[in-house]
């Protein structure tokens, strides 16, 4: 360290460049998410268990699927992973940030709310990259071939981005209006309900007469978009559904979010 010519505490105020703030904030949030045992369980352990269990279970009971179980379930579990991080983890983390006054404290730093939100989104995406590598790896180990071609990979990326936008906006809506404990309960409950009845892991056609309804859910739209992408097609219709959910969630969050 060089010896400063000025007095130690001589004022020299200024905000860091936005890009630096964004990366700092994203890095902190991603580290905290991965350090937290429950979050890690939700992000990696449960999806991997669901994938292995569903593939083996389907083979054992001879479930009637449109393709090999691993080809149907791996995209579904990728969708589940995006859902759990962008919705459940984000909602719970943000709920407790409000509760513990972290948003208030961050409000004393020269960090704009947009940069704070941007940092959160970046952290979510970083965690999702890790999830996709691990879950994709487990899928490949079970015999999955991966998304079909460049279009397939692009489709996965688009589905993940649109799904994250939709679920993150809904997660923030929950976290910004309910108490932290209520957010925790609601985020987990919604996760379980969508896991069972939201056409994420199981394809929409497995829901029989409800097929056309569940694909309007953000979970169903994300699951279908992810499955189409892995088959090598970009499913514009379901991506639009996700974008509409993101628009709705963002508009409601902007109106209702309480920072303290």
């Amino acid at each position: 360290m060089t010896t400063p010519a000025r007095a130690t505490f001589a004022p020299r105020p200024g905000a860091a460049p936005v890009a630096q703030q964004l990366l700092t904030q994203a890095g902190m949030e991603a580290r905290l998410m991965l350090r937290n045992g429950e979050q890690l369980l939700l992000a990696l352990v449960i999806p991997v268990m669901v994938l292995v269990g569903a593939v083996q279970g389907a083979e054992r009971v001879g479930l009637d699927l449109d393709g090999r179980p691993v080809d149907v379930f791996t995209p579904g579990v990728l969708a589940l992973a995006a859902l759990s991080t962008a919705f459940t983890s984000l909602a719970i983390a943000t709920g407790f940030e409000r509760r513990y006054g972290i948003l208030k404290r961050l409000g004393t730093a020269p960090l704009s709310r947009m940069t704070l939100l941007g940092g959160k989104v970046l952290a979510l995406l970083a965690v999702q990259v890790l999830q996709f590598v691990v879950i994709g790896g487990v899928g490949v180990a079970l015999g999955w071939d991966g998304p079909d071609g460049i279009v397939g990979h692009l489709g996965v990326l688009l589905a993940a981005l649109c799904g994250t936008a939709a679920f993150a906006s809904l997660g923030m809506l929950l976290a910004g209006t309910l108490r932290a404990e209520a957010t925790l309960a609601a985020a987990n409950l919604v996760y379980l309900l969508l896991l069972g009845g939201g056409a994420v892991v199981l394809p929409a056609e497995a829901y029989g007469g409800l097929e056309s309804w569940v694909t309007w859910l953000p979970s169903g739209a994300l699951g279908e978009a992810m499955r189409s992408a892995c088959d090598g097609t970009i499913d514009a219709g379901h991506l639009v559904v996700l974008v509409l959910w993101a628009a709705l969630g963002t508009a409601l969050t902007a109106r209702t979010f309480k920072w303290e």
Partner: protein
């Protein structure tokens, strides 16, 4: 930098429902000073400071910090001020040093975190997550977070609450160094000796109003007024303080501080002492201590904000 006060509060009114928390409050904070804002709980200190920090919008009146409107000009103001919150405000899983480094990176020219870690003895926190830090450690981290961005002005809320005497002294020295280096410090505290020692100027609030303002010396000098402080071993018998007040006559003011102590202010001299001693004998009250002295800031504060005034 614009000449003028670092903080200007002019006719501020803040209400919560029917309750008026801040009632036409006006005061200024001169740049490069330590200014203490004192008052009993519920006097409106926190509301006033949070309005200066931009957390609340002034309902009436005007607030300017470094010449800026804390709500409208928030983005321009935030890099220039540091705010120490009383508690909380950290991720429960984050470590002290990690939080401090994080805050440093949000600023353009931060202090080297190691300087604050050493000065505030935060190295003892090690890798302990925030939720397991002691109250005093959380307090010191809060101060470090307020300072790391090299602000021009810091709001410090109870900076030494719950600290041991040694660290309290280190915090005092730090605040004095801040002032010497050109930082304006706005301090709230419950420790009046802290305000008396550090502050260039003191503003005392009660019921949302400014009841006194001045340097600690100006506030305690108060002409010829001196005080007699009596502490007894048993609670005062009913009606006894009123009898003492009558025997002392006009020109003196008697304040019951609690059930075991009272204070007489006024032109106190040996005859006042004699009357108090005689009253003790009459009422079978055993004094533990009876002292005559110049008022300190605590006496002034208690007089100004006492809830129980005899007569």
């Amino acid at each position: 930098m614009p000449a003028g006060p670092a903080v200007l509060v002019d006719g501020l009114v803040m209400r919560y429902g029917d309750r008026t928390a801040v009632d036409s409050l006006s005061f200024e904070v001169e740049a490069h000073t330590i200014t203490a804002v004192l008052g009993p709980n519920g006097a409106g200190k926190t509301t006033t400071l949070e309005t200066c920090e931009g957390y609340r919008r002034a309902q009436a009146g005007k607030v300017r910090v470094l010449g800026l409107d804390p709500v409208r000009d928030r983005a321009a103001l935030l890099p220039r001020i540091g705010v120490m919150l009383q508690s909380g405000g950290a991720w429960s899983g984050a470590r002290a040093e990690e939080m401090l480094r994080h805050f440093a990176r949000l600023h353009a020219h931060p202090l080297e975190p190691a300087v604050l870690i050493e000065r505030l003895a935060l190295d003892e926190c090690g890798r302990t997550p925030y939720r397991r830090l002691s109250g005093g450690q959380q307090q010191r981290l809060g101060l470090a977070l307020a300072l790391v961005g090299r602000p021009e002005l810091v709001f410090v809320d109870e900076p030494t609450a719950g600290l041991d005497p040694q660290i309290r002294r280190a915090v005092w020295e730090l605040l004095e160094e801040l002032r010497a280096d050109g930082v304006t410090v706005v301090l709230t505290t419950h420790y009046l000796e802290e305000a008396e020692r550090l502050a260039d100027k003191v503003h005392i609030l009660d019921h949302g109003r400014l009841v006194a303002s001045g340097s600690p010396l100006e506030l305690t000098r108060g002409g010829t007024v001196a005080t007699v402080r009596l502490v007894v071993t048993q609670p005062f018998p009913p009606g006894a303080p009123e009898a003492l007040a009558r025997s002392l006559g006009d020109g003196t003011e008697l304040t019951v501080l609690d059930e075991l102590s009272l204070q007489v202010s006024g032109p106190a001299d040996s005859s006042t002492l004699a009357r108090v001693a005689a009253w003790c004998a009459d009422h079978d009250v055993l004094p533990e201590s009876l002292s005559l002295g110049q008022r300190n800031l605590e006496d002034v504060f208690l007089e100004l904000t006492a809830r129980e005034d005899v007569r």
